[in-house]
Structure formats: structure tokens, C-alpha cells
């Protein structure tokens, strides 16, 4: 029995020696760092697919014409928010091609004149079970929640989450809750889930 214990002890000590030989904590660190890099760099690229808007809409050009966000993104008479403008609004100026930008020609010929609405990709579309009132958040600057597209000549890339189907920029519930808490607004369920 004693001899067997001694043999076993010997094997353990031998393994311990070999272990020192394979780097001590280094493999752990290698695995750790690799995982961190993969998690922060590779994972997002795998998780999101990249999409571009069907028409290269230049907010910059429109802003240079003296237009403001509210010129197109309007509140309706009943206080609801229209969100993205539809053809009726766009065609107030673009029923026909008025400039030299090829993107405008695409819009006019492929959408406006065919009576087809542009399937814009909405960066912050909320699920159906969320009731979000823009009117209640009117005092905030648009850019506090939305991408600041006002000075962009090309719309930002739309990152679609392959799992959830929502945009990368879609605000999560914890973000809503935090802002409500910070501003002393109720976080009761019924405030957002009607």
C-alpha cells in the first residue's frame, strides 16, 4: 500500500514538473486574451450583417437647403409622429428629377414615379409591444437618441442583428429605464407597454 502511494506521489510530482514546462499561467492568459479579442472584435462582425439604404439619401444636401429635421420628420395633427416621410412628402420637391445626383434619379424613377414607397431601413425601430411617444420626448434633441445624420452625405451603414432581426441602434429596454430613472419618470410597465 505504501509503495503504491509513493508511486502515485511520484506521478503527481512528475506532472507538476511538466506543467511548469508548459508555461504556467501563460496558456490561461492566451485563452483569456484571445477570447476577449474575439468577443469584442470578431463577434460583432459575425452577429451583424451590413446593409445599405435603398437610396443614398443625403441629409447634408437637404440641410444645406435650409431644411430642418422637422421639415420632413413631422408630428401629425393628432400628435403621433410620422417618422420617415413617404412619397407624398418627398414628391413635393422630387416628383421629377431636379438635380444631378444619380441617387435622386434612382428615387424618382424607381419609386416616386412608380408609386412605390422606399423601403427605408429604420435604425431604431422598436418592437410592436413598445409604445414610444415622440411627443413625450419632444424636449430632447433628436441626436440624443438617434444617429446624428444631419451632416452626412451618405446614410450610415445599417447593422442588422442576425439573431433578433433588429438594428444595432435599436434602443434596449435598460436604456429606456435608465433614462426614465435619471429623469424621474415612472418605469411602470404600462408607461411603454400599453
Amino acid at each position: 500500500m505504501d509503495q503504491k502511494l509513493q508511486e502515485l506521489w511520484g506521478e503527481v510530482m512528475e506532472e507538476k514538473k511538466q506543467c511548469k514546462g508548459c508555461g504556467g499561467a501563460l496558456p490561461f492568459l492566451i485563452g483569456f486574451v484571445a477570447a476577449v479579442i474575439a468577443g469584442w472584435v470578431l463577434f460583432p462582425n459575425l452577429l451583424y450583417s451590413k446593409k445599405v439604404q435603398p437610396v443614398r439619401f443625403s441629409h447634408k444636401v437637404h440641410q444645406e437647403q435650409g431644411m430642418e429635421c422637422a421639415s420632413c420628420h413631422v408630428f401629425r395633427d393628432d400628435g403621433s409622429y410620422a417618422g420617415l416621410p413617404n412619397n407624398d412628402k418627398c414628391m413635393e420637391c422630387h416628383a421629377d428629377v431636379v438635380g444631378s445626383d444619380p441617387a435622386e434619379k434612382i428615387y424618382v424613377e424607381q419609386y416616386a414615379q412608380k408609386g412605390k414607397e422606399v423601403p427605408w431601413l429604420i435604425y431604431q425601430n422598436q418592437p410592436d409591444n413598445v409604445f414610444f411617444s415622440h411627443k413625450a420626448h419632444e424636449s430632447f434633441e433628436c441626436k440624443e437618441c438617434h444617429l446624428e445624420v444631419g451632416k452626412m452625405d451618405t446614410p450610415p451603414v445599417y447593422y442588422e442583428n442576425r439573431l433578433s432581426g433588429y438594428s444595432k441602434q435599436t434602443m434596449k429596454m435598460w436604456q429606456c429605464e435608465r433614462c426614465h430613472a435619471e429623469n424621474g419618470v415612472s418605469n411602470a410597465c404600462h408607461v411603454c407597454h400599453k
Partner: protein, 685 residues
């Protein structure tokens, strides 16, 4: 330095530990939880501007002026149109389900051609229209070979259909049975002409004999609004309502008085009332008053009690109510909106003459101008026509069915369906896959009311000429459908006929113009009204001399079909939302419940909950018994609207169809086919 097992394990452990400091696990868990809420079968909201658009909803027989609420252009709810003076913001329970019905799975999704028993294949519109033209071309010019059944009593579509038939050398244009057709016949028997109207809103006593005016007779929403106006909150009622009919139905339930009168005895009840009124001093300047007085004298309180079971005190109390009223009006009709004889109408209307209320309580509407020059009127209803087809007196080679469901909603329905099935070529213009469409060789999907132009002239019951019109609420139908009138106008053109219009919208605009109405104002939810014409009526005494009270014996009971508008109509199965309102005493599981009072049940040898078979003619109906003291003696009340064999999963196979056991008889002196007051034998099974 080599990598041994221990080193590998260390890397893995390090990797796992490192992952905990990245979004991989936490974000994935979050996203998977969101993904799990996005199953493809979960309905998605249509986002966009919420609007309320005026529409004419003809899902119910009278038609409702409604506001359709849309989001992003798609309807999602219906509310009454407060700006419309007729409905005053009210909406009937069928039209209230209009948005849901637009997306119904029972809708015909594209033109269908029959390829076998119960089998259809989808075909293109051009092929469907070519087939229709081919069949009509082959029979053109042969009178009697092309026929049409129209289930829309108020629309100008009837003018186009009858005009097309006339142009093709055919006169076989038939309406589905309804109160209007019978009432116009009744007015003729009283020496007048035109559609009668009734001013419920202006009356201080409304006596409904059979007519279920607050649920299924006439313009029900307007009637209900008129009733409600007489019941101001916190103040005394300003008018009395009395219902005399076979069942304590919706009208009877809210009336001041309910007099149980079996369906076959309504004329006897009216004449008994006339007798008491004359005895109390009522006189009329009508030319046939003496004859009428002599006839009424035969309907003594004893005779009336024998026919109806009503005691003399009840009749006398009613006479007192009428005598005390300054502006009474009497409305007579079948308790379920069809099948009554013209004599039933005349007996009730004669009371208006006797009370001097013609021209005020009861009015006559002038003939309306026609939009289609060649349009004709129907001189026979679809039940009479199909009876002739069954006996070989009529032999059409092609039948056009427009917004009608004769295979379900005519007496002896199974026989009617069989007769229909034997016609060589049948085309149905229907929004839904109903029982008739399922029998047809060609089904051409009609748009839902929110997807089409339509109009309604003088819905039965209105006191003044009335016209409503509507235009589509949606830009594009949700199914591949075309307006039936547009299809028929196109077919007419290919057959070398010109009816003067290219589209139904043009027809309606012409109709509005002919009436002096502004189509745009109508389409925005407005209404056009004219003036009732003058003229007098006689008491119809010579016609009433032929009134016969059908006798029931111990073995038979009179059938009283009961309408509940929420359960749909002849052309519409119960909307899915309204199935929730069906009571345990109306449908239990898949068993229809029939109702009778305890004395009647005892006489028939049945008891509460018994399974029974009701038989008449070749028809049979299976049901369970529920005792209800609100049913007239010797009568079995059967709810309409069940026993569907087509439609959708929500309605198919539930209960049984009362039309199967209604039997047709000839009304003495008028030649009309009648089936109100049909009798059945009841047997326990």
C-alpha cells in the same frame, strides 16, 4: 514548448473566463430572447397615420354609414359615423366587425374555376372573364336561358344586371326574398304604388307586428337610434313600443309590452285589433271601409284568442294604448325579414289607414330615376324561380348570382342547393366562399365593402327617399378581386351591348346626379333625402278576405326563425368576433338549441336538453331543446345563421340551418310563395 493536455485545458479555461468579459454570452442571451418573440405567425402592426374614413358598409342588409379607422392605409376598426343623420354614430354588430371580415380566411382570393366536386383551380381574370362571355354568348337571345339572382336590394348593381339580361334577350332577373318586395305587392293590393316607409322617429307609439324592427327589420341602426331618443336619461319615455310576435326577441325585450303571437296568426291578430278599434269608434274614409269593417268583425276576441292564445284583456289594453297615442305607427313583417305574405303586410298596414296615419306614420316613396336605361324590375323572387327550375317550368342554361346565397338562405335549403347544382353553368360574384359559391362553376371574387364603390337607395323602412353612396377606403383590395359590376359591364361590351357605362363608379355617379345628390358629399359620409309622395291607400279589404289562419295540431309546431343580427345574415356567416356573443342557450358545442315554452314542450313530448329532430318537407334539423317562456304557444323558435357548410373554420359545421325545414306554400289571392309560419313535426331522438 509543446502544448499538452493540461496546457490546452488552461487555454480553454482562459478562453471561457475571457468570454465572460465580452458581450458574447450576454448579448446572445438578450438577442435570443428577442428572437424568440419574433415567430413568423405573430401578427405585425402596420405602422402609419391613423385616419377615420367614411364608408358605406353593406355587410348588413340595410347598410351602415360608418367610419373605418385605418393605420398606414389599412383598416383595423370600425366606428359609427356621427355626422350621418341616419345612423347618428351607430353601427350594427355585423358592420362593426367589418375590418376583421376584410381579412377573413373565407374570402375568395382569386377567380376560381370548378374542376371537380368541391374542387376549384385558381385562374387568371382574363380567362375567367373570357369564360363568362363565352357562356353568355352561347345563350344570348334565348329568353329563359340566362337568369340572375340578386341579393342586394338597394344597390344600383341591380340595374346593371337586369339591364344586361334585358340586352341579352332575357327577363329572368330575380331578387332574393325580402320585406321590400312583399311590401310593394301589399301596397298594390291597397290601391297604391311604391315602397312603403315608416316614421318610427316621429311616432309616439310603435306597434311591431312580427317585424323585429330593433334587430333585423329595416334600417335597424336608425330604428335603434329612434328608440333610444325616446328614452332620455333621467326622464320619462316619450314613446311606447309594443312587439307582437312569436318570440321575445331583441325588439320585444326592450319594448313596453310583448304580446306572444304565433307566426301564422299575425294577420288574424291585426284584424282582431282592427275590430276592437272600430268597435271603439275608429272610422276611415277609405272606399272599402264597410267591407273592411264587416271582415274585421269576424275576428272577435274569442277568434283571436283561438288563433293566438292572447286573452281579451291584453288586446283591450293594447287598444287603449293606441287610442291614447297621438301619432301611432304599425309595422308588419316577418320576424326574420322574409317569407311573410303580402296579406300579413296589408293586415298591419290597414291599421295605419284606419288610424289615419298614411302620409305621416306610414309613407309611400316615389319611384326613383334609373341610371341604366334598360334596367327592369324583378316580378318574382328567387325562391319562386328556383321552385320553377325544380319542377322544370324554367330551364336556365346559365345563372348569375350576385351577392346572394340561395343555397343556404331559401326554404328547403337542401333542395334549393340541389336545384342550383343542376343548372349547367353558374357564376357567383361573391366576396366569401359561401354555400352558393361552393356550388358554382365559376367564382369571381367581389371586393369587400371597403374596397369598392357602392350605393344604397331607399333601404326598406325609411320614411323618406334616402340615398347613400361610398367609395373605396383602401387603395388596393387585399385579395385579387374585381368589382362585379365592372366585370359585367366589360362582358356586356364584349357581347356587343352598351349599357352606357364603363365602371360601377360611373353608374353610381350617374345615379347620384339623377337624384340631385352630390356624390362627393355622399362618399364623405353624407346622405341624400327627398320627400315622400302623397296619395292614399284603401284598407285592402278584398285582399284580406282571403286571409287564412294556418292551423297547427298536436303533432306540429309553427317554426319561428329568430334573427340575431350579430350572427350574420343570409349572405354573411357569423363574424368570428361575434361568435363570442353566442349563448349557451343558442348553441351548445356543435348542437343548435331550439326554444319552446314549457306547455308546448309538454305537448310535443320533449323536455329541457332533449335531442330532437325537426322535420318538414324533405328537410330535417337536429337540435337540443331549451325551455323559454318567451316563445309563443305552439311555436318552436330556431335561431338563424348556423349550420354553415362553407365559409371558414370559425363557422363551418356549427349548429344547423333552419332554412332546411321551412316549407313554401302559396298565399291565397296573391300568388306569392310564403314560408313564414311553416310548421314542423318534432321528434325526440
Amino acid at each position: 514548448m509543446g502544448l499538452d493536455r493540461r496546457g490546452f485545458v488552461k487555454i480553454v479555461v482562459g478562453g471561457v473566463a475571457g468570454t465572460l468579459f465580452t458581450p458574447v454570452i450576454w448579448q446572445s442571451l438578450d438577442d435570443v430572447s428577442i428572437w424568440s418573440q419574433n415567430w413568423p405567425w405573430i401578427p405585425r402592426l402596420n405602422k402609419g397615420e391613423v385616419k377615420a374614413k367614411a364608408a358605406l358598409s353593406k355587410l348588413c342588409p340595410a347598410g351602415c354609414a360608418v367610419k373605418v379607422k385605418t393605420v398606414g392605409g389599412l383598416p383595423f376598426a370600425v366606428v359609427g359615423n356621427t355626422a350621418n343623420p341616419m345612423s347618428k354614430g351607430g353601427v350594427c354588430p355585423v358592420c362593426a366587425a367589418g375590418a376583421q371580415l376584410m381579412y377573413s380566411p373565407a374570402r375568395v382570393k382569386s377567380p376560381l374555376k370548378k374542376v371537380g366536386e368541391g374542387k376549384f383551380e385558381a385562374i387568371k381574370w382574363e380567362d375567367a372573364e373570357a369564360l363568362l362571355v363565352e357562356k353568355l354568348t352561347a345563350l344570348k337571345g334565348q329568353n329563359g336561358k340566362i337568369a340572375a339572382i340578386n341579393g342586394d336590394e338597394t344597390g344600383s348593381a341591380g340595374e346593371v344586371i337586369s339591364g344586361l339580361l334585358a340586352g341579352l334577350g332575357n327577363s329572368g332577373y330575380y331578387m332574393m326574398p325580402g320585406e321590400k318586395f312583399v311590401a310593394e305587392k301589399g301596397v298594390k293590393l291597397m290601391g297604391g304604388s311604391g315602397q312603403p316607409g315608416f316614421d318610427i322617429a316621429g311616432a309616439d307609439l310603435v306597434l311591431m307586428i312580427g317585424a323585429d324592427a330593433l334587430d333585423s327589420w329595416g334600417t335597424t341602426v336608425a330604428n335603434q337610434k329612434a328608440f333610444a331618443a325616446t328614452r332620455p336619461t333621467g326622464a320619462a319615455a316619450t314613446a311606447k313600443f309594443v312587439y307582437a310576435g312569436p318570440v321575445l326577441n331583441h325588439s320585444a325585450a326592450v319594448s313596453d309590452k310583448f304580446l306572444p303571437v304565433p307566426p301564422q296568426a299575425t294577420a288574424a291578430f291585426a284584424l282582431g285589433l282592427a275590430n276592437l278599434l272600430i268597435n271603439a269608434g275608429a272610422v276611415s274614409s277609405a272606399s272599402d271601409f264597410a267591407e273592411y269593417k264587416a271582415l274585421a268583425a269576424k275576428y272577435t276576441v274569442e277568434e283571436v284568442e283561438k288563433a293566438t292564445g292572447l286573452k281579451a284583456e291584453s288586446m283591450k289594453a293594447l287598444v287603449d294604448l293606441i287610442k291614447a297615442a297621438k301619432s301611432p305607427v304599425v309595422i308588419a313583417g316577418a320576424s326574420f325579414g322574409q317569407g311573410a305574405g303580402a296579406l300579413d303586410f296589408v293586415a298591419g298596414a290597414s291599421l295605419n289607414v284606419l288610424l289615419g296615419r298614411v302620409g305621416s306614420g306610414m309613407t309611400l316613396l316615389p319611384a326613383a330615376p334609373k341610371a341604366v336605361a334598360g334596367a327592369t324590375s324583378s316580378d318574382k323572387d328567387a325562391a319562386s324561380f328556383l321552385a320553377e327550375v325544380a319542377t322544370g317550368k324554367a330551364a336556365p342554361g346559365a345563372l348569375i348570382v350576385y351577392e346572394a346565397n340561395p343555397a343556404y338562405a331559401l326554404p328547403q335549403a337542401d333542395d334549393m342547393a340541389k336545384t342550383l347544382g343542376n343548372i349547367a353553368f353558374k357564376v357567383s360574384f361573391s366576396t366569401y366562399m359561401d354555400e352558393t359559391a361552393a356550388l358554382c362553376d365559376l367564382i369571381l371574387p367581389a371586393p369587400h365593402p371597403y374596397e369598392r364603390f357602392d350605393d344604397a337607395l331607399n333601404p326598406y323602412g325609411v320614411a323618406k327617399p334616402t340615398y347613400l353612396a361610398g367609395k373605396p377606403v383602401v387603395k388596393k383590395p387585399v385579395q385579387d378581386c374585381k368589382d362585379p359590376v365592372d366585370v359585367l359591364l366589360g362582358a356586356a361590351s364584349k357581347l356587343g351591348l352598351s349599357l352606357g357605362f364603363d365602371t360601377y363608379a360611373d353608374v353610381i355617379q350617374a345615379k347620384a346626379k339623377a337624384l340631385g345628390a352630390d356624390f362627393d358629399a355622399l362618399a364623405a359620409g353624407g346622405i341624400w333625402t327627398g320627400e315622400a309622395k302623397g296619395g292614399s291607400l284603401n284598407l285592402g279589404a278584398s285582399a284580406l278576405a282571403k286571409v287564412a289562419v294556418a292551423k297547427t295540431d298536436d303533432k306540429t309546431l309553427a317554426v319561428a326563425p329568430v334573427s340575431n343580427q350579430a350572427n350574420g345574415s343570409a349572405t354573411l356567416a357569423t363574424p368570428p368576433a361575434n361568435l363570442l356573443t353566442v349563448r349557451e342557450t343558442e348553441l351548445s358545442g356543435k348542437d343548435l338549441i331550439v326554444q319552446m315554452n314549457a306547455a308546448t314542450a309538454k305537448k310535443a313530448g320533449v323536455a329541457e336538453g332533449n335531442k330532437v329532430k325537426l322535420s318538414a318537407g324533405k328537410g330535417e334539423l337536429k337540435a337540443r331543446v331549451h325551455l323559454n317562456e318567451g316563445v309563443a304557444p305552439g311555436t318552436v323558435a330556431v335561431l338563424l345563421g348556423f349550420g354553415r357548410s362553407a365559409w371558414d373554420e370559425f363557422t363551418k359545421g356549427k349548429g344547423d340551418n333552419v332554412y332546411k325545414i321551412l316549407t313554401v306554400s302559396d298565399e291565397a289571392g296573391t300568388g306569392l310563395k310564403v314560408w313564414a309560419g311553416s310548421t314542423v313535426t318534432v321528434a325526440k331522438v
